[in-house]
């Protein structure tokens, strides 16, 4: 099993790992028209690529990221220990999405705080950071921006688009907006739109941020402060919805911090409180509040059936000759299996090729980021099949 390089350390890639990767930046001068009617004139997208584009340019796979992730899908950064990409367990040499066979692209979405143009950047119109004035971007806008980057990379046709959660929405949207530019769509732990409950969670998160006195109507950069309290609460509530009741119970149960009750209403008593506060603190250090507002709104707005009177099957008529793989997790209550089945039904109604795996995993929504042999087995089989059908 030892791959070349297995006996080396440091810069040499370890078996199954991409080793060190480097982000790239692309400038776009032509304005991007947005769904809102506004446009972004002049913007940057940062991205990473892994593996090699083959001679026929047929082996490219786009990986779309979810709420708090980025273009850094896999591999590590040379100067940062423990900087594995967010889907490093799936993407790499010999992994289910095998970079020895595929050219994998991760793109940071517009409005993000990880390098692509976003609210922290300077608005050329005012000379000050965009802040809350950054245009509202949608899943469709992201997909269009991704398509423009592919133009620059000289990729007409993707072998597949893969995404989980909000990334899955982008993967679905690709099949509707640019069906001629991809072969297959793999959408994991996603939904055809957000339920009222989901929008409600997003709204609580947004209110936490907006009502933080340090938010300053989204122009906190000028005040030299960050609405950390709001971000913390936003992340805490988000985090609860990514876990299942069972996994939380197993991980924390009613474990206490101390042996005795402290009879305090404000100190941390239970380990779950400590965990959530830690997650909130960590998040508030690196995530931008305006980006959080933008991305949750993009989630709220995504609803491809809306343009077809709520008929999802009518929406997917545009994806007629595509092939889909849909995966859900039984304990995911944020994007439940029932939501994935709605997608499957819309595809089946159109007689579109689709496979659907409903993985009985205990980890809730987060399961899509974890390594489960059944889940990864299905994705590996799917990518193996796609690889067999590639033009060299």
């Amino acid at each position: 099993m030892a791959a070349p390089g297995f006996f080396f350390s440091g810069d040499r890639p370890q078996m199954g790992s991409l080793g060190h990767v480097t982000p790239q930046r692309q400038r776009f001068d032509a304005p991007l028209p947005l769904r809102s009617g506004a446009q972004i004139g002049g913007y940057d997208l940062v991205y990473e690529t892994y593996g090699r584009l083959n001679a026929a340019r047929s082996n490219a796979v786009l990986v779309c990221h979810a709420l708090n992730a980025s273009h850094h899908v896999a591999g590590t950064y040379a100067d940062q220990p423990k900087s594995e990409g967010w889907w490093d367990n799936l993407v790499g040499p010999g992994k289910p999405l095998d970079t020895d066979r595929f050219f994998v692209i991760g793109i940071n979405n517009l409005g993000s705080c990880f390098g692509s143009t976003g609210p922290m950047d300077v608005n050329p119109g005012t000379g000050r950071p965009w802040g809350a004035d950054f245009p509202v971007v949608t899943v469709e806008d992201w997909v269009d921006a991704q398509a423009r980057l592919l133009d620059v990379l000289g990729i007409d046709q993707l072998a597949a688009v893969l995404g989980g959660s909000l990334g899955g929405m982008q993967a679905l949207s690709w099949t509707l907006r640019h069906p001629q530019r991809l072969g297959e769509c793999i959408a994991v732990a996603t939904a055809p739109n957000l339920s009222a409950q989901n929008i409600a969670f997003n709204e609580v998160a947004r209110r936490a941020i907006i009502t933080d006195p340090d938010f300053h109507d989204g122009h906190f950069y000028a005040h030299g402060v960050l609405p950390r309290r709001g971000l913390r609460v936003a992340r805490m509530i988000g985090h609860i919805t990514y876990l299942s009741d069972d996994s939380m119970e197993e991980k924390f149960g009613r474990q206490m911090r101390a042996a005795e009750l402290g009879y305090s209403t404000q100190d941390i008593e239970f380990q779950i409180e400590s965990y959530l506060r830690y997650q909130g603190d960590k998040f508030s250090e690196y995530f931008d509040a305006n980006t959080y507002l933008l991305i949750t709104r993009a989630l709220d707005y995504f609803d491809p059936a809306a343009a077809h009177g709520g008929d999802l099957a009518a929406a997917f008529a545009a994806a007629k000759d595509k092939r889909f793989t849909i995966v859900s997790f039984t304990t995911d209550w944020r994007f439940s299996p029932a939501r994935s089945r709605e997608i499957v039904k819309a595809l089946v109604d159109n007689r579109i090729d689709v496979s659907y795996a409903e993985i009985d995993a205990p980890h809730g929504h987060d399961a899509f980021l974890l390594e489960d042999p059944r889940y990864h087995g299905v994705l590996r089989a799917t990518f193996d099949r796609i690889a067999r059908g590639l033009k060299a």
């Binding site: 793989t325 089945r341 499957v344 039904k345 089946v348 109604d349 007689r351 090729d353 689709v354 496979s355 659907y356 795996a357 409903e358 993985i359 009985d360 059944r374 087995g377 299905v378 089989a381 799917t382 193996d384 099949r385």
Partner: protein, 195 residues
């Protein structure tokens, strides 16, 4: 196990070329793959078992992971030329509902199940013991076959649900049995259509 068996060949012969097929309880997808390659059929398999879903994905067969006990809400009326339900019926609690769903979703249904009235089974019961045979290989206390019926029983059930039996025959040891199938065949095969 994974190769096309004679029972599969027999069933495949009943499926028209180019048919849109829904295979309920499609196992590892061998029959669907065979129908796609040999007869230009298309469609989906339905499976509940993780290992079978993976096997289908490996074969490149469309598979939908679903518990058949929950019905076929995913599939529209008359949306398939053929609905296959091979060696599946005996595992389902809602036998009647599944039968009606099969007739709703497909223009034609093809079903197979173990025929409990096959003579060795009768002999075994006469001797006071539940049968253990190649077709019914389980002990009474660990069998996954929660519904055991006979060729003749199924005719009654089909009629009761207003289904039309287009054809029926037995199958045993690689041969079609048309004379006294209720006595002479270990497997019953029915071709049905909605009333």
């Amino acid at each position: 196990m994974s190769e096309v068996t004679t029972e599969m060949e027999l069933i495949a012969d009943l499926v028209p070329a180019g048919a849109r097929v829904l295979d309920l309880g499609c196992g590892d997808g061998a029959l669907l793959a065979h129908l796609q390659q040999a007869k230009g059929c298309s469609g989906y398999g339905v499976e509940i078992d993780d290992a079978n879903v993976l096997a289908c994905a490996r074969r490149g067969v469309n598979v939908v992971q679903l518990n058949l006990e929950e019905g076929l809400a995913l599939f529209g009326d008359r949306s398939f030329d053929v609905v296959l339900q091979l060696q599946t019926l005996q595992h389902l609690r809602n036998t009647e509902k599944m039968l009606r769903e099969t007739a709703r979703v497909g223009r034609m249904g093809i079903l197979s199940f173990p025929n409990f009235a096959h003579w060795p089974n009768r002999l075994s019961v006469v001797q006071g013991r539940m049968p253990v045979t190649r077709t019914l290989p389980y002990q009474w206390y660990d069998t996954p076959n929660i519904r055991v019926g006979t060729f003749a029983d199924f005719e009654v059930l089909a009629r009761r649900n207003g289904l039309q039996v287009l054809d029926s025959f037995g199958f045993h040891a690689g041969r079609v049995v048309r004379r006294w199938p209720n006595l002479r065949a270990s497997v019953a095969v029915f071709r049905i259509a909605g009333g």
